[in-house]
Amino acid sequence: MVSAIERKLLRWLRVPPEPAPPDGSAGSVLVFRAGRNYWRWRVLAWALAQAGVLVVVLLPLIVLAKKRWALPDSVASFWLAIEAILLVVYLVALFLSYHAQRLDYELRWYVVTDRSLRVRTGIWSVVETTMTFANIQDLRISAGPLQGALGLADLEVSSAGGASDKQPGSSRGHVARFSGVDNATAIRDLIVERLQKYRDAGLGDRDEPEATANQSAQELLDEARALRAVVEARYPKTSL
């Protein structure tokens, strides 16, 4: 999957290998990856951006071609030299950014265990987010029209706390993003199912367990009364 140049890039950027899953019950670890179409989506966005840059790079050349008669030869050749350098830089950047896109797509892991999740993304700036299900507040699935047509969606898992920036792609704050997955609803259902075990608010409250302890104590008292009634019926006081 990863070509020689990409392996070199990985080594040079010191990108750590696949993340270890967080502790969970054995056999509960599921690793999700971005969908195949996510790569097409990324290439499309990348190609549009690069085309825009190319127009900016070539603009002076077009101007130069039109005004050539008005400029002395020395100035014109100076312009041409600058253009040549710019084009070379552009082509190198084109080559590198294509592979960076490729790696960014390949190096995404969305790990779910029975009690937590871990999301690893990025090649230059590597970000790894770990969250326990006990702290999850809400889940959100979003997809634009193009993503929808490609069968992709982003799944956002939020914990408590203010996330001020809502811009897409930002992994700041209390959010774990499963970007570009093609089975967002299935992952959502899996997480919701695993969340059933947690009935507290996810904010460090200890009320619920104490309530069940009280209920158990009440049950114990009822049982003790019933037991005493049986004992008293069986051994009448008169027989003593």
Partner: protein, 165 residues
């Protein structure tokens, strides 16, 4: 409260690589170098960590002093963040989020020697990391329920059979 690993408890200062990174960071600001270097110099030399059984205390600064204390149980999520330069130096930032109202991390641990081990330790201290059954108080509930079922068994035996002898 379980005792924390001695490898964690012994961390009180960031590693020396952090100073190298701060130097590079200050150099990247070119003309502002004297100012940023002074700020980062004091930040590095006054940074202190204290890992106790309940939580983490982190302090830094000399003129403008900062001190952050947070409980392990209140950690909402952990972000491990690093750029290529930090990774070259063997560094990473551990950003710890609590439920207070800010999207920036409440505490950023810098210059921790073994980042992965620290991340695993913090994860093990988070709520829900040990599974849903390990909530405090539920132990008492399960013991009480066990006692109740034992008594129920005694009562049923007495209701059914005659005492021996």
């Amino acid at each position: 409260m379980p005792a924390i690993p001695s490898a964690v408890a012994s961390i009180t200062r960031p590693g020396e690589q952090l100073f190298t990174y701060y130097l590079l960071r200050a150099l990247s600001t070119t003309f502002a170098f004297p100012v940023t270097m002074a700020v980062l110099y004091f930040r590095y030399h006054t940074m202190r960590y204290e890992f106790s059984e309940q939580g983490i205390r982190m302090s830094w600064g000399i003129l403008f002093r900062n001190e952050v204390v947070l409980n392990y149980g209140r950690i909402q999520d952990i972000h491990l963040r690093s750029n290529a330069i930090e990774r070259w130096l063997g560094l990473a930032r551990i950003e710890i989020q609590t439920a207070s109202g800010s999207s920036d991390s409440e505490m950023t641990l810098e210059g921790i020697p073994d980042v992965d081990a620290m991340r695993d330790f913090l994860y093990s201290q988070m709520r829900g990391a040990a599974g849903a059954g390990a909530k405090s108080g539920s132990d008492l509930a399960s013991i009480l329920q066990e006692v109740a079922s034992q008594m129920r068994a005694i009562r049923m035996t007495m209701e059914q059979g005659n005492p021996r002898g």
